[in-house]
Symmetry: C2
Subunit: 561 residues, 2 copies
């Protein structure tokens, strides 16, 4: 747990007529979105997502919000509202429910279905409250009204939270595709009506606040897919996110038009599309779907595979195809479409997959060469519409790194939100709405909580620092056996090293130096293990630095017998 | 050393009337460009660059071409032609000259000046042969003709290599800016004349072969800089590559127009701009330049800093400013311009710098928000002009990953080069030009040679694999002291662990298991160190896997006393 705002004290208890907003994630990062609202001693949470680790968080599987802020207050949580079923909004739900399993989960039909199928894997059966756009539902003192929003997964919702302290509108993730595939528009009329009634605080998606203009409609991808399919004379493989039902729908339609059968590849793709189909969000023409084994039997020009792995994940089917480590053997003339965004940080992995597939003879179509992806987040041009319709008294950009939050704050100022009512907060900053004015009231701990294997929160920053050193420089350990009864070294020194880039034989150059130093220390009467360890570390550290100009981790071990 | 083409044998000795081409780097990667030409028992090398390591090559400083192919043949090298002074073309020169210091270095005035200032740091004084566009110069059996090309560094050259076996044109890196800042155009007329005489093999820069269209002129950046400067009311900091003389020139001009003084920041920026200015490639109005200390004294709105660090390098001045670890304190209202490309793999680091600067109050302008960078490499539209003017009999794309080489090969086919005369080679493939036809004749070893600290080639792939495991999972070492005279364990087991994410205290759960297992082994008469090590490894490995679902490196050590 870190405390990123040492200059800020924890806040005073909330005033009785105040509304408190604390983001435990999603501000200053893209991921682990989680915002806690407090009024009258009760809490409402919006979203509970994970963040995916970066290169300087080696070995970590997932990063969770720090639930420490909720310690001792879990029973005060009236509900957890889930705006949509992306991992950065729902991925941490199982970890929160482990602490209190009966927190009511509130969401749309598809959102709840996808969350439930995830929770089943964690053997949790949640209390689910299904809602839909247009509905108003009280959760303790929080009256929630839900609005349809368009995003890169169907059935996403925005939520207005009404309390006597004021009304907050939280958009969740959204964009404003005016020709959405399912006809379900972002409810601008509803936002306008709410704005007319008075919105005291707007929290809105900042991901694309730096990007000018508006999004292209999802349906503009269809003619591009059609053309790629028309030129494809062997297998077609499409990689995209496992939750992008509309993207998959367009691929299914193109496959049907070109008389190809489709197989899903990848556990999450199969699971999610099964749920989406069952609930009617995905329309599958009869006989179109086959399984992978059947696909392997068909002539390549009659097959489409829809796969995960669009971010170059090393264990995904697509990466394994690129490395010839998958039953599907990529051959000259195959076509691979990466119908997805390229999340910053994944470029090296994705280009490695593209190069591997190209080398095997495939034509690879991706968003930099063709319109096979559109973003799911509103760019600046659309955010201006939102701000002008809602006319919020106060504005707080969410869901973004600093550069996104700052760009979004600027848009709010341009539309007339007074500068002192635009609050750029970071994770853990406490924002209180008092007398219709939002301001920062303090800070709470909100560090990264790392999931690694079966453990949650056991891998610490200091362990990660060790991993970074070990990963860059390796280690050298020197072992000495010490007889405490007579203060004599009776075994060793022995050196073991991995990853330091020094050949075994080279250590013969330093072993006598260590032995000498230990002998001299013994002659001087030094006989405690700590001093001997320090001595060995110093001798080896100097030798490595002088001869190799490197700084591996040096681990002196004294075993007492 | 790796051998990427096990299916290919080393080539037969070259036929007396043949020309051999072997790329030791630059094919299948962006970096360490180095191509060796052989005719009549003599060798000519074009470029000798480095490759920068990626995340899966932890701790490595630089990657060199494998000079093993030249072993025993260094005396046959007639010359090393350097097309321009970028690190991926000259960075490995010091390492090659360590093997034979008097290899003649051939290049333009600026290229040689920059190489020499680099070699001075390595205490090497090279044999330099200055050439310029339009000149023809024999090096043994290789008649070299040099052509002006436009690139993101001044004074770049292409080279035609004429031998009785045929004529090769190697473009080096180039683009075709038709309004270059220095008026020095890529010599299309020369290429056309050479094409008329007959080019048997064209090697050309593939970096932007996937990108449609043509480049925007470098000078289009000037009005953008002018506008950014006009709105800047505090300090302006521009980060760009330390060799981009024309980009720096444009910043100097903007600074002069807006009555600001300029300081260079960063060792390579100061060194290179000193060289460029001295030779007349950079024009600096009198009194414009100041040093950093003077800049700190001036009012912020009279200052421009031109700095390295545009790729987010952690030790660079710009990264340190973003982390408040630099004498220059970024303040509200400062403007930072990243006037550079964003090299794939550096996104996370660059966005971290942008977020850090934004958080401190700076406005950050970068290529995704404004036209503050244009590429130095010809896109597809320009490559087509080249191919149509040169009309090569054979074509070999160079300088690119597979996706680039393949896209470039496709362009060549479209312009009429027969498919069987388009050779997509990888590093180490041997291409022979015989009877005016190029084809692959075998393969030679050409693995990565890693520079780490003071060592060259000592860090191996297996060491890197160890580093990757250590970096992701840490290690657990278990130490046992063993009395060989009586076959008894007399000390330990003791456990030491770093980075495994397991708290010290938790090991008390497994130590008795290890001790038990050792006791039982002793009872069974097992008494060799190897068997004891395997036993300890197995017990701990199972315990970690069962309890933590992780796979740290396990290092059992038996010290004999």
């Amino acid at each position: 747990m870190s405390y990123p705002h040492p200059e800020l004290a924890p806040p005073e208890p909330l005033a009785p007529d105040g509304l408190r907003v604390v983001a435990l994630g999603g501000l200053g990062e893209i991921g682990r979105n989680m915002t806690v609202f407090e009024y009258g001693g009760k809490l409402l949470i919006v979203d509970c997502g994970v963040l995916f680790p970066e290169a300087d968080q080696p070995g970590v599987d997932l990063i969770l919000p720090d639930f420490g802020y909720l310690e001792g207050r879990l029973d005060e949580v009236e509900a957890l509202v889930l705006t949509h079923a992306h991992e950065d909004h729902i991925g941490a739900v199982p970890y929160l429910l482990r602490q209190r399993e009966d927190i009511p989960l509130v969401g749309s039909k598809l959102t709840l279905a996808l969350v439930k199928s995830k929770l089943t894997e964690h053997r949790i059966t949640p209390q689910a409250v299904e809602v839909r756009e247009g509905q108003v539902h009280p959760f303790g003192p929080f009256d929630c009204e839900f609005f349809a929003v368009n995003h890169s997964i169907p059935d996403a919702l925005a939520v207005a939270i009404k309390t006597p302290a004021g009304t907050v509108l939280h958009t969740g993730d959204f964009k404003m595709d005016q020709l959405p595939l399912d006809g379900r528009l972002t409810d601008l009329a509803g936002f306008a009506r709410l704005g007319g009634e008075g919105v005291d605080l707007l929290l809105a998606d900042s991901t694309n606040a730096e990007v000018p203009g508006i999004v292209r409609p999802e349906r503009d991808i269809a003619p591009v897919l059609d053309e790629v399919f028309a030129y494809a004379d062997q297998r077609v493989i499409v990689a995209c996110f496992a939750s992008h039902v509309h993207r998959v729908q367009q691929v299914l339609d193109a496959a049907a038009d070109h008389e190809r059968k489709v197989a899903f590849v990848g556990r999450s793709m199969i699971r999610n599309m099964g749920v989406a189909r069952e609930l009617g969000y995905l329309r599958v023409p009869g006989g179109l779907l086959i399984d992978l084994r059947e696909a392997e039997e068909l002539p390549p020009d009659e097959v489409v595979l829809i796969s995960t792995g669009s971010q170059g994940e090393p264990m995904s089917a697509l990466s394994r195809m690129a490395g010839r480590d998958h039953p599907i053997r990529i051959a000259e003339g195959d076509t691979v479409i990466l119908a997805s965004s390229l999340i910053p940080g994944n470029e090296t992995a994705v280009y490695r997959v593209i190069n591997g597939l190209t080398r095997l003879g495939a034509r690879v179509v991706h968003k930099e060469s063709s319109l096979v992806h559109v973003s799911g987040h509103a760019p600046a041009g659309e955010l201006l519409y939102l701000l002008n319709l809602v006319k919020p008294r106060n504005f707080m950009p969410v869901h973004g790194e600093w550069r996104h939050l700052k760009a979004h704050a600027r848009l709010a100022s341009l539309t007339g939100v007074p500068r002192d009512r635009v609050v750029i907060a970071e994770d853990g900053l406490v924002v209180d709405l008092l007398d219709r004015k939002a301001s920062i009231a303090g800070a709470v701990p909100c560090g990264y909580v790392y999931v690694d294997g079966l453990t949650v929160g056991e891998v610490t920053e200091s362990q990660l620092k060790d991993r970074r050193i070990l990963g860059d420089e390796g280690f050298i350990s020197v072992i000495v056996v010490f007889d405490a009864s007579n203060g004599k070294v009776v075994g060793g020194p022995e050196i073991h090293s991995r990853g330091a880039g020094i050949e075994e034989a080279a250590f013969s150059g330093v072993l006598p130096k260590v032995a000498d130093a230990l002998d001299r220390a013994a002659a001087d009467g030094v006989s405690d293990a700590h001093a001997l360890r320090q001595l060995a570390r110093r001798v080896i550290g100097k030798w490595v630095s002088d001869n190799y100009r490197r700084r591996p981790m040096i681990i002196p071990v004294v075993v007492e017998v």
